[in-house]
Amino acid sequence: MANKLRERTVISGVGCSRFGDLLETPELKGLSIQELTAGAVKEALDDAGLTGQDVDAVFAGNAMVHSSQVPGTYSQLSKWTGTQFKAGVHFEAQCSTTNVGAALAAMSVAAGVYDTVLVYGLETTRTMVKGYSPYEREPISHQQTWLWTDMAVNQAYGVPQGYDIFSTYNGLVALGYCRKYGMSIEDFDRGMFELCRTRRLHGSMNRKANIQEKLEDRAAREGFSDAFDYWRSDKHNPFVAWPSRLLSLVTTADGASAMVITRADLAKGGKSQPVELKGFGISYSDLPWYGEDPTFWEFDKRAIDAAFDMAGIRASDIDYLHTHDCSHISGICTAETIGYLEPGKGLAAAREGRLRFDGDRPMSTHGGRHAFGHAWGASAGTDTYEAVLQMRGQAGARQIAKRPEISVIHTHGYAMIGTVVVLGSI
């Protein structure tokens, strides 16, 4: 396997909606899924200085068609995005969708098939079509969300026999981490609190985040003077898979993201500063996601190695990292596997504030899956969006002081496709 891109490819434009709920979140309430998506696409095309008629192909991502009800997405969205008559496909890689789309786009550009590709992802994990209405939506129940989402998980033996994302992704990984590194459950809990606090801080600095309230402010609103007491409250933060708590998890969201991938030479002198897509790695597996050691996931390691090889980088080159953090402890394990954090020291790094935007190991400065929120097929694009903003120096109050020159984005597409994208400044 050559594992090389034959042409330099760049991201020349990025876009992202606010994440939240189409029934109640400011800036989203009342929007249709078509308008939600079109907003993200318009932002990306404007950022690149293009219209929909300037792209050669459209890769349209959507994972949970049960709630969105827009299969044939390229066609149904074409008149909302100005892309009619282009080549197009609807694809999904679950929660890695948009970054797998970026990889597919980079391949097609580097192969000389297309010059410019628009990739977008849309998802509604909070709301679904109401009845047969073309514009009215209603909430999705917790159980319905997971029944639909878990259709991406082993339907022969896993889900029918009691598989539960919270156990497999959180509790068992947490216990593996504690045993491997001799960490007490109490120390683990404190570390997870600090990690959540960091993600909520980042969310509070991001107008597009689902949750924009600091953990301390939420605790105070609930009558707690000590935020850690709030954290340990069974009422507000119960164990969902002991020793993992509710606030260490994803929060569901409706949302959309988009990006424009083009040849490096075509982006020169463009409207916005392009960022090079230097490499990617993709590797998938079925349950169980790990062997005896729940902290080490073979498919992630393979995706990381492939991406680093293609990009020609080492872990020490990384200035900014996002790892998939539907489960906060899994995200820490991945960062340690990547080599960005020292094995067994990730939670200590969180406690020391090193993972904040102003720390020496900044991670997930948009707020991650918990604070920014998670709209399955759209989320990887928001991770890339944030990395591009950071690399351009456009992240506002949460800007990393020294602009990242190398960013790495890791995502997990259920269940599971490990996807790693390496971005480099030009």
Binding site: H142, Q143, W146, L147, D150, A156, Y157, V159, P160, Q161, G162, Y163, D164, I165, F166, S167, T168, N170, G171, L172, A174, L175, G176, C178, R179, I185, F239, V240, A241, W242, P243, S244, D286, L287, P288, Y290, G291, E292, P294
Partner: protein, 139 residues
């Protein structure tokens, strides 16, 4: 009217076996490793030369947590929250399944974690519509 013969399904055979306390797997004739639960080829080397085998049901529980409440799947509403574990089978495969013999409370799971790995034995947990693989902790 012509009778159409039903084709064999590894999934159906697995659950039918489970109902009788038989734990079906396949063993690869190329690399010798097991795939459990069974598919039609080896999950390790990709060979299609596999043979059906029955596993002992003996294993070691490495870690145990609990599921979320209420359950994500209607099948498990009646028993949630239940204990869910990470198990190494005697024949080698790693499997995750419901664990019996411990309560789904932080205190009980904490004591189990402190004990470290413990031996377990597989059994079929009868649900309303399907037998489900479970592992019981030895006393």
């Amino acid at each position: 009217m012509q009778t159409v013969a039903e084709q064999p399904s590894a999934i159906r055979r697995y659950y039918e076996g489970l109902a009788e306390g038989v734990f079906r797997a396949i063993r690869c004739q190329a690399c010798g490793k097991h795939t459990f639960p069974p598919t039609g080829c080896c999950e390790h080397c990709g060979s299609w030369k596999v043979e059906p085998v029955e596993l002992s049901g003996e294993g070691t529980l490495l870690f145990a947590t609990h599921n979320i409440f209420p359950a994500c799947h209607p099948r498990f509403e009646k028993i949630a929250p239940y204990v869910y574990g990470h198990i190494r089978l005697k024949e080698g495969p790693i499997v995750q399944a419901i664990v019996l013999g411990v309560q789904a409370t932080p205190a009980d799971l904490g004591r189990l974690f402190e004990r470290g790995p413990v031996p377990v034995t597989a059994e079929a947990l009868p649900m309303d519509d399907l037998p489900v693989l479970a592992f019981r902790i030895h006393d």
